[in-house]
Subunit: 209 residues, 2 copies
C-alpha cells in the first residue's frame, strides 16, 4: 500500500468515501462505477480514481468497484479495524452527548472510560461507561494506554490537560475545546472540531449579496 | 466585492482566517504580514493572498494586513454582521450542549427558540432560551422567519423534519443528524457536521503502517 505524501485533502475525503460506501453496502448495492459514486458525492469520477490511486489499485476497468471490498479497504486504510482505545476527558454536556449519541464502535474505537472533576458525576456511568475522577488519569492511562483522548474540558483547562495526557503517553486528541493546542512532540496528533467554522460556512452561503 | 465562482475550498478556509484574525485582534496585534499569518495557520503566504483576492484587495505591499480591518471584512463576507436568526430543533443532549456551550452570538446568530417533543422539556428554558413544543413550529416559523435550523433530532426524524421546515420557509440547515438530507429547492443549504469523518481522519493519522 502506497502511503507517502498523501495530501491532507485526500485524507479528509477518505472518511466521506467510507461513509458513502457503508451506506451503499447497507442498501445491498454490490457494485458501483466511479461516475455513479462521484455523482452521489458531488465530485468527479477522475477525482475518485486519483484519490484511490494514492493507496493502490482498486476496481476494474469497465466493471467499477466492488462496494463491500472497497469499503473494507478504505476502512483498513483509515484504521477502523485497529480497535483503537479512546477516553473522554470532561463529561459535561458535550462529553455526555458524544458518549450517548456517537457510535464510537462504528468508527473502530473502544470507549473505555470518562474522566471528570465533578463529584456528582464521578462514580456514575454514562452509556455504560464509568466516569472516573480526573486524579485517576495517572493510574489509568499508563495501565490502559488509550490511543485517543476526546477533549471536552473547559477552555482554560484545555492545554494543561493536553500536556498532562501527553506526558502520560496519549498521542491522539479529538479536540472540542476550540483552543489551538500545541505540543513539542511530533507524533502527537490534534484533530480539532470547530463548530463555528461549520456554522460560518453556512452563514456565508445563506447571506444574500 | 467579487464573489462569483469562489471555490468551496476557499469558502471553507474563510472561517479559519476569521478565527485566527479574531485571536490576533484579542491579543492586541495590529498588523500582520501574509507570511507570518501563513506560518501560524500552516499555509503559504501566496495561498492567503490568492484566497483573499477572490473578494477584493486587502493589505498593502510591504505593510501587511491591518488585523482589525481584515477581521471585519472577512466577518462581513461571512455574514457575521447580518444577525441571522436561528432555532434549535431537537433539544436532547446534543441540542442542549450546543445551546449551553456554543457562542451563537459570536458567529452572528441570534438563538430564538428550541423545539422538542418531550413534555419534560417543553416550557423550560435552556441557556435562557425557551423550549417550545414541536407543534408550535407551524405558528413560530412563519412569524419569526428563522434563517437557520440546527437539526438535532433522531435520524428517523431528520428528513421529515427538514421537509416540514423547508415547507415553512427555512432555507439553512446546520445538520447534526448524520443523515444526508435532500431538497428539491435550490436555495436550501445543508451544512452537515459529521463527527465520524473527523474522528476517522484522526484514526488514519495515529494508525501505524
Amino acid at each position: 500500500m502506497k502511503k507517502q505524501n498523501v495530501s491532507d485533502a485526500v485524507i479528509r475525503r477518505l472518511p466521506r468515501y467510507y461513509r458513502y460506501l457503508d451506506d451503499l453496502h447497507m442498501k445491498g448495492i454490490v457494485r458501483i462505477s466511479s461516475s455513479t459514486l462521484g455523482e452521489k458525492m458531488g465530485i468527479t469520477a477522475s477525482q475518485i480514481r486519483q484519490d484511490l490511486s494514492c493507496f493502490g489499485e482498486f476496481g476494474q476497468q469497465g466493471y467499477g468497484y466492488n462496494v463491500e471490498e472497497l469499503r473494507a479497504e478504505i476502512g483498513h486504510i483509515l484504521g477502523v479495524d485497529e480497535r483503537h482505545r479512546i477516553i473522554v476527558v470532561g463529561a459535561g454536556n458535550l462529553g455526555r452527548a458524544l458518549m450517548q449519541n456517537f457510535h464510537f464502535k462504528d468508527a473502530g474505537f473502544l470507549l473505555e472510560a470518562a474522566f471528570d472533576v465533578s463529584p456528582a458525576l464521578v462514580g456514575s456511568q454514562i452509556a455504560g461507561v464509568p466516569v472516573l475522577d480526573m486524579s485517576e488519569l495517572e493510574r489509568f492511562v499508563p495501565a490502559h494506554r488509550p490511543d485517543v483522548a476526546v477533549l471536552t474540558v473547559p477552555q482554560s483547562a484545555a492545554q494543561p490537560t493536553a500536556d498532562r495526557l501527553i506526558d502520560l503517553g496519549v498521542r491522539g486528541f479529538w479536540n472540542f475545546t476550540n483552543v489551538e493546542l500545541t505540543s513539542g512532540i511530533s507524533s502527537v496528533r490534534f484533530e480539532d472540531v470547530h463548530f463555528a467554522d461549520s456554522l460560518l460556512t453556512l452563514s456565508y452561503r445563506i447571506t444574500v449579496r
